[in-house]
Symmetry: C2
Subunit: 227 residues, 2 copies
Amino acid sequence: MVSGMSQVDDATGLGRLEPKSLVQLAADAVRKKILAGDLEPGERLIEERLTKELGISRPPLREALRLLQQEGLVVNQPRRGSTVVELTSEDVYEILTLRSGLERMAVELGVPVQDPARLEVCRQALARMRACAQAEDRGGLVEAGYAFHASIVALAGHGRLSAMYNSLYQQLLLCMARNLYVRERFYEDLETHVDRHQELLDVVERGDPKAVLEALAAHGERSFSSM
Amino acid sequence: MVSGMSQVDDATGLGRLEPKSLVQLAADAVRKKILAGDLEPGERLIEERLTKELGISRPPLREALRLLQQEGLVVNQPRRGSTVVELTSEDVYEILTLRSGLERMAVELGVPVQDPARLEVCRQALARMRACAQAEDRGGLVEAGYAFHASIVALAGHGRLSAMYNSLYQQLLLCMARNLYVRERFYEDLETHVDRHQELLDVVERGDPKAVLEALAAHGERSFSSM
DNA sequence: ATACAAACTATTGTAGACAATAGTCCAACA
DNA sequence: TGTTGGACTATTGTCTACAATAGTTTGTAT
């Protein structure tokens, strides 16, 4: 699940090869544990235990936790350590509204698309979705769906916007990992699920921003009306 | 400058008293140094030097730098340390577009205002702006202007939205500290500057979202057309 | 004189240990 | 029996020291 994400995160552009520091690796590992449900919401993150699991010492782990804290996956109370964030329905509301708002901004900034290469990324992500749907690989579908939406946002060529979106999507995945409604959604026809995204991309490729916004609204409503 | 900001950041709501950790203090101090121009964009942040200045050891400082890294004020290259972020014109474009987009979202979510207390915060911030303008306290005016815009965004009662906005505004302040256009803007009549914000608040109080959006667009355009 | 290589220095990355605090449990008293 | 006080333990906060790396400078050879 996270492997696909790092693939997205790696899109820093230039080919400068940067040996990932232990901090980055630790952050990735803990993030993966959280999103995989290995660490449950509200659970205390005992530093010493994590260091033993990861085979590192505390300083890099603590720095990694600071990163996750800013990402919104971990909350840190002074003198009381870190815990996995617990998302209330209020939080879910915030995440969903921000998400749709950011997507809207991205469309307004990025459609019609100038750089064809960016569209190609969307197409490939959609193809991956379809492949996962046919294989009934629900985990892969979630991951590919993330890549697809991220690629749509990336059409704007707006680094900070994409960064915010990705950070937010992490939290959304955390909801989805736990929440009932998503599981239910996943009993809908997987092909239909992909088709809806296909339609969205079609409208994007056609290049009319207003039409995309309408499609996006419909898409979002269908996705989250059950909340 | 930063004192006023922490005042805003402290708005975590509840009265739970949390002894600030060295990490938080260090992050605040370094942020202040950066925004005050004490540390210039592109400048390397030598850890040992900062520790001596702040009188702390490296681990908490490093964690603070991780926070600032996620806030976008500091960039960290593995094995090569941290530097103050250098904002290109592309970055400024990103910051300004995101800023206006987030403000728009906030208005759409928060106008008309339900909680009168939130409006009161706006009014007080505006009063502070006017006081600073009359005293020709340009530094204070910048700070109060930040508080005003933050309070407008806070009308939405959307924690994540406000957090993103604040983080972005830090970077905007970093531009403003350096960039020419702002200095020029500040030779305009300070009272007029405040008046423009007054008009914005008036429209907000009137409660028509569409009118606010228009006012906001005009406001933004006047503020940044010179970019 | 210039280019390349090797050593050196400055700085970051990581580790382990110590200090301080918060939560918990048990006992004693009202 | 309920409550308060104190000690204990687990965990975080912080510091010092060591290892590793990148940048720089100097020397030598062509």
